[in-house]
Symmetry: C2
Subunit: 199 residues, 2 copies
């Protein structure tokens, strides 16, 4: 491994460049409006052939992108849960994360909130069954159990709470709300929390 450091780095870098270009283009134009030629042009690679040395086909690029995003979210959420004992604090941590991502990595949030994973990858599980979202549902269950929130199905908690959060962030992403996500952070958290909090 060490003796091929140059090569492996280069390979990993090339893959990253492809993924980064794809992420940007998918977020801007959507998956189906983006051709492999577009992706090749936007990364360092000159022709579509080069892409096939890194990914089996176009779908696998999207699969890898979503896997990376889910993994990263998973790590962050685990971290948040470890550092915060109370479910309400954990939820607050997740919201902080999403607002930060919207300002700092809007393309990632675009894939999560705007694009339809099931239209791109019909075989993939629905978004809400992906690991990070399963964990969020668990936070709602824990919050209900310890009495921080009202007693209602966790899916409905999700609908109300993240309905507000996600719609706000979506409108920031599309420009329907004209300030940075951060400008709406405090007020939106409070509003969302109040929809489920035990009054």
């Amino acid at each position: 491994m060490d003796q091929q450091k140059e090569d492996t780095q280069t390979k990993a870098e090339a893959q990253d460049e492809i993924l980064l270009a794809a992420l940007k283009l998918f977020a801007e134009k959507g998956y189906f409006n983006t051709s492999l030629t577009d992706i090749a042009d936007a990364s360092g690679i000159k022709t579509t052939s080069g892409i096939y040395h890194h990914f089996k086909n176009k779908q696998m690029i999207a699969t890898a992108l979503y896997a990376n995003i889910f993994d990263s979210l998973n790590v962050s959420i685990d971290d948040i849960r470890r550092k915060n004992p109370k479910p309400s604090e954990q939820l607050r941590g997740v919201v902080d994360l999403l607002f930060r991502l919207t300002d700092e990595a809007p393309n990632v949030m675009q894939l999560l909130l705007v694009l339809n994973i099931n239209e791109i990858l019909p075989e993939e599980k629905p978004l809400l069954e992906a690991p990070p979202f399963v964990k969020i549902i668990k936070i709602f269950q824990a919050a209900a159990k310890n009495g921080e929130i009202r007693n209602m199905p966790p899916q409905l908690c999700f609908a109300y709470f993240f309905g507000i959060i996600n719609q706000t962030l979506r409108m920031v992403l599309t420009g329907a709300l004209d300030k940075k996500a951060d400008a709406y952070h405090a007020q939106t958290w409070l509003t969302a929390w109040n929809t489920i909090a035990k009054k």
Copy 2:
């Protein structure tokens, strides 16, 4: 015109069949996963050629679909505004409409809430600038003026209020919430209303 009544009726019916088939397929598989062959098969028409006598191209089918949906929503919203003097009642009427549509015309709601009009029709205005949504924003403005809701930007009202409504309906459409929309109607309205109501 009158003397060709038979023909025009037939023509209109054929167009409707195409639109209906397209609506169903777009809602199920998405616009890009649906070929004109699929649409021809699903309507009475036997080949894709027939479609071109009714629509200039594939995009125009989507354009017509959205135009129909927007028109119909527009009429309904005008009706609601005429019949209900208070903005809060108007909003309630719109919510009733959306919940009813989710149970009775889920394909229509799928196009509105799940599919990305701007990915399908890049030239089209963003959804929130379409006439029905402009009217809803106006309702929020009127509600703010007469003191029924808190004083905040109408776009933010929209984000909170319809964040809850739309996310709930989206989850009904995808099966993440397992009952009919109607089962969540009352509670969801109340929760959404409370996010913007002057307490």
